[in-house]
Amino acid sequence: MSKIIEVKNLNKKFGDFTAVNDISFSVEKGNIFAFLGPNGAGKTTTIKMLTTLLPPTSGNVKVNNFDLNTDRDEVRKSFGIVFQDPSLDDDLTAYENMNFHAVLYGVPKEEKEGRIEELLRLVDLLDRKNDYVKNYSGGMKRRLEIARSLIHNPEIIFLDEPTVGLDPQTRNHIWSYVVDLSKRKGVTVFLTTHYMEEAEKMADKIVVIDHGKIIGSGTSDSLKKDTGAESLEEAFLKLTGSEIRHDEAGSLDSLRTHARVWGRTRR
């Protein structure tokens, strides 16, 4: 097996605060890789660095054999991403969101329509393709984001808490697409989630991060064995402790209020 993501001594500082502290790990091609940790552990920051959105303070990263510092555009072509926060344009239709992405990624005209249709069918949104995204439910938006992230046939797909806030039916649905994808197309999946059963069921490899440091890695079984736990959830709690972490105050919510004051409404 070959390594499709290699991270060596990666660091990220925001001023004096170290969000990611000297982490090293790798992801095997075709694997489902789970990156677990409590709120504020540094998962999203790491993903932002791996996906070129945030420059690392130091460290070496290779994605699909391309160096993050020198081959940004090649790295960018290699992956698709579903961000933790929504990233669709609500004022456009599902089809328009897909088309925007296809054009940005230079998908050939002859293949574009076919791929968009195939992917929308895969996530059961084909019949709603001309609806505005603002009329979509949370689960539909997530599915659309997954479909969108695949239009350019990426080698890797990053999923940052893709199932947060969704009902169990939708969560199941989403994970069954993901497993299917990794099995059928050999796409490497890099995911984060707070639902330990999801990770336990699907992940080939797990890395646990807390306070910016890696505190455990292996398979679900090896992590349970190392900690003497019955379930991954128990192993996770033993590794990270049971103190409650606070999520960051909802900056998005306060902005929504401003947006409304300034005459735009969003759902």
Binding site: T51, L53, P86, D89, A259
Partner: protein, 248 residues
């Protein structure tokens, strides 16, 4: 090129789909047109300056253009906060093209808004000396719009939220508007104002518009064009620099 086109198309679609925004941003220019146009018209005529509506309309058209443009630039903040910016920033395309597409898109929308005001002003008695001059008028409107969209984008790339928006309107956009000779002639204004107006890019936009609408202007219209182009390129490059260093 496709990148620029799809970003342009997105701005245009979003604008055309937002009727409240179209109507809302027509409100202020129309209010100015009516209040100033009818309020000062007779004084203006008595002072021997001719028809005030003829003088005022280029300024009001510019007002519609710059307000829409600055807002279009500032909208970057929303794209960032609502997450769509990340989608563009992880794509394998140059930041230069992203910035260019956004700016041309914002500028196009602003020109449409300017044309709407121009059409309405025909109903309150405004006349163009030569209808064909609408084409150079579009050029001046577009460059003015381009400058203010790029300015808005530059500012937005340094701001995290919309709270500073009123400050920008009151301490930057409105002064630029009034200093440009948009609603009163600068010829008899105090020296200090005249000097300030020279570094206000809008001065050249409005002077150029007066030339193409009326056939008269204070400066050479070609000079207006060159200044406006120069200012636009500079602010675009500054904006691009800031945009590239912005966190999505």
């Amino acid at each position: 090129m496709n990148t620029v086109y799809i970003l342009w198309l997105r701005q245009l679609k979003k604008y055309l789909r937002s009727t409240p925004r179209i109507i809302g941003s027509l409100g202020q220019p129309l209010l100015f047109l009516l209040v100033f146009g009818f309020g000062f018209g007779s004084i203006f005529a008595k002072a021997g300056e001719g028809s005030y509506i003829q003088f005022l309309v280029p300024g009001i058209v510019a007002m519609a253009v710059i307000f829409t443009a600055i807002f279009g630039g500032i909208e970057l903040i929303w794209d960032r906060q609502f997450g769509f910016l990340k989608e563009t920033m992880v794509a394998p395309v140059s930041r230069f093209n992203i910035m260019l597409g956004r700016t041309i898109g914002g500028a196009t929308v602003s020109v449409i808004q300017g044309i709407a005001v121009l059409i309405i002003s025909f109903f309150v008695g405004f006349k163009m000396h030569n209808p064909l001059m609408i084409f150079p008028a579009l050029v001046f409107m577009f460059l003015t719009a381009f400058f203010f969209t790029a300015l808005g984008t530059s500012i937005a790339s340094r701001l995290m939220d919309m709270q500073a928006f009123p400050i920008i309107m009151n301490f930057l956009v409105m002064p630029l508007f009034f200093l440009s000779g948009s609603i009163f002639p600068l010829e008899n204004a105090p020296k200090a104002l005249q000097i300030l107006s020279k570094v206000d890019p809008l001065t050249y936009g409005i002077d150029g518009l007066r030339y193409v609408f009326e056939g008269v202007s204070s400066l050479n219209p070609w000079a207006d064009l060159v200044y406006l182009l120069g200012f636009s390129i500079i602010v675009f490059l500054v904006g691009r620099f800031l945009f590239e260093r912005m966190e999505a």
